[in-house]
């Protein structure tokens, strides 16, 4: 039980951060704007959650210009994928034991 609780990631307790991770786990990469559209949240809100995930090395950021517009896209890192999978696995075990 103790190890399961420790696998539950504090960072993913937030609904939006968990949402970002789940979207990026099934997409090769996603632009800031696409993430914003899917999650239906404000720029500032999304940016702060992305920064938190980026700081933990769960996301990799690519900044480039498409034409003259800056475009920021996000990709899940191996580290992030593992953390996300552990988190989901822990939740699944909890669900089974309920």
């Amino acid at each position: 039980m103790k190890s399961i609780i420790s696998d539950i990631n504090k960072l993913f307790e937030n609904r939006i951060r968990l949402g970002i991770m789940s979207i990026l786990s099934v997409n090769q990469d996603m632009s800031f704007n696409s993430l914003k559209e899917i999650l239906d949240i404000t720029d500032g809100n999304l940016a702060s959650h992305l920064k938190a995930l980026e700081k933990n090395n769960y996301l990799a950021v690519t900044k480039q210009f498409i034409g003259r517009k800056p475009n920021t896209s996000y990709r899940i890192t191996d580290n992030g994928r593992k953390a996300f999978q552990d988190h989901i696995k822990a939740l699944e075990i909890l669900l089974k034991n309920k």
């Binding site: 789940s22 099934v26 696409s34 559209e37 939740l91």
Partner: protein, 243 residues
């Protein structure tokens, strides 16, 4: 005095019990919240990878347009198809075309095909727009782009191949090729929308293969594949997901 001590001990015991149970309650509540989030994960994964705004209604309409187009071709070149289907004559183009030129026949076929295609695509866009608006999804999303690219890669290939067939005067292979490449397109696109479209793809390919063996029945196979199958598929999808 003794009673008081006892009381305080009981109090102490009791309060620690309360503390413990609220702690437990908090953990449980937290877990409940996490499990609730779990439901959201699946939805987000699907929403971000699959285009879910395809409406069954557009399938029905596309099928009806295809049948109307096929009927127009049949009515105008009745004798051509009757000769093929019912009299099993040796292939005498001039007799079957009833005096009309072969190039005129092919031009008419292409014209009808383009009109049907434009009408079908327009209804798909219209009903998708409507469904996206109703469900609060974005129409022109990453998943829509991916769906279109994967759908049209085989269809575009098929289109070029059909142009080659026309140039080589192999008209009898147009319908089979159209069905096969369209089916492959659907199969290829099925990862990016509701997976049911896979079965439509399989059926189109099967019809295409069959029609490539039964030369001369192109129009009938074409009507079955692009008309009837679309109507049935559209109806099933509408009942399953939109009703």
């Amino acid at each position: 005095m003794l009673k008081d001590v006892n009381k305080s001990a009981i109090n102490k015991y009791f309060s620690s019990f309360v503390l413990q149970s609220t702690f437990k309650y908090n953990i449980m509540k937290n877990i409940e919240k996490q499990l609730e989030n779990l439901n959201g994960i699946k939805e987000l994964m699907e929403k971000s990878t699959q285009f879910l705004s395809l409406s069954g209604l557009s399938g029905i309409f596309a099928g009806v347009f295809a049948l109307l187009g096929a009927t127009a071709v049949y009515l105008k070149y009745n004798t051509f198809f009757s000769a093929r289907y019912f009299q099993n004559l040796s292939f005498d183009k001039n007799q079957m075309l009833n005096g009309e030129s072969l190039s005129g026949f092919v031009t008419f076929l292409l014209l009808i095909a383009i009109v049907v295609f434009v009408l079908a695509i327009s209804t798909v866009i219209y009903f998708s727009y409507r469904k996206a608006k109703k469900t609060g999804n974005i129409l022109w999303s990453n998943s829509a782009r991916r769906l279109l690219i994967n759908l049209f890669l085989p269809i575009f290939t098929g289109g070029l191949f059909i142009i080659a067939l026309i140039l080589h005067h192999l008209y009898y292979l147009i319908a089979p090729a159209a069905l096969i490449f369209y089916g492959l397109g659907l199969l290829n696109a099925s990862k990016y929308t509701l997976h049911d479209i896979r079965y439509l793809g399989f059926l189109e390919i099967m019809l295409g293969i069959l029609s490539s063996f039964f030369i001369g029945f192109g129009l009938i196979f074409w009507s079955l594949g692009f008309g009837l199958l679309h109507i049935i598929y559209g109806f099933v999808m509408y009942v399953k997901y939109e009703k």
